[in-house]
Symmetry: C2
Subunit: 150 residues, 2 copies
DNA sequence: AACAAAAAGTTAGTATGCCAAATGTTTGCC
DNA sequence: GGCAAACATTTGGCATACTAACTTTTTGTT
């Protein structure tokens, strides 16, 4: 009962955060979710990235990105364009509406980011981030199996 | 680019952890996911809890719990039973197989819990947990809206 | 040049998760 | 006792997210 709670704590805290954040976006009449906004930010920074680039940058599987881009495309915030150099690839273009919506989302996201930090000194936040970052080495693309039996 | 990354970091780290953990469970031939295992633990502790009790304890919406219990019931790890005192309520009973499966899951979960902590002194883990716990006050059941305009 | 292997995207299937709405039951108030 | 409000659960709709399998195209090897 003592420390089995770590994973549970992470999961539950993230659930609360996600719900709060997406509700805040809806309340501000933003028409994209947090994850979708991430795509818009990346495309504002550098338009015409490929699907694979985007999925790597936001850290999701290619197949997850397909759905994300589908939804963004349906509402006209991005468009898929054939790559002139590689016929397997698609270049994703953000539209002016997409950029505007991303900017709206950014305000809310910045605010919630600040809310996370309130009440804690910077050193503690650094530790928090350091531990989270360690997950990328520890849990990245590895089945987590030790020497599995048959 | 500096600290907009906090939320992103939390989301992505949790994704890595979840995927790693569920893959570890599959690799160990455990037939339940992490979240399902949480239900089995709670029922082993105290059998016959209601749906509402369970959803509160694991911190998900009632409607999410419906699906979780559906899946556990389908494979025979729990059973729904009518409450004798309140005809609205269902009492969820864990089966011996469910308890056994929960025990199998617990070993893996304990191991991953330890993996999270490796490399960090206890004081840092305490800070980590403290910040996560703050999410429950900050982000609990509140739309996150400030004074939204029309 | 031929052919295998790798890479880019999509699709299908499954599992969380939320919200809103619907159903049935119980409570509280008069 | 009657009726509105609250509660317990489910359903339907949507959004992530993964894995596995599939198609098309490119690369790498001989």
């Amino acid at each position: 009962m003592k420390d089995d709670r770590l994973i549970f704590l992470i999961f539950t805290a993230q659930n609360k955060l996600r719900t709060y954040l997406n509700n805040a976006l809806v309340a501000a009449n933003v028409r994209v979710t947090f994850v979708q906004a991430g795509i818009l930010f990346l495309l504002k920074q550098s338009n015409g990235r490929t699907m694979s680039d985007l999925s790597q940058l936001i850290g999701v599987d290619n197949s997850t990105l397909t759905g994300l881009v589908d939804r963004l495309e349906k509402v006209g915030f991005v468009a898929r364009q054939a790559s002139p150099t590689d016929r397997r690839s698609l270049l994703i273009q953000v539209t002016p509406e997409g950029i505007a919506e991303g900017d709206k989302a950014k305000m809310i996201i910045k605010r919630v980011n600040e809310e996370i930090k309130t009440g804690f000194p910077p050193e503690e936040m650094e530790i928090f981030k350091k531990i989270l970052r360690s997950f990328f080495e520890k849990f990245n693309k590895n089945t987590g199996s030790r020497s599995e039996d048959g």
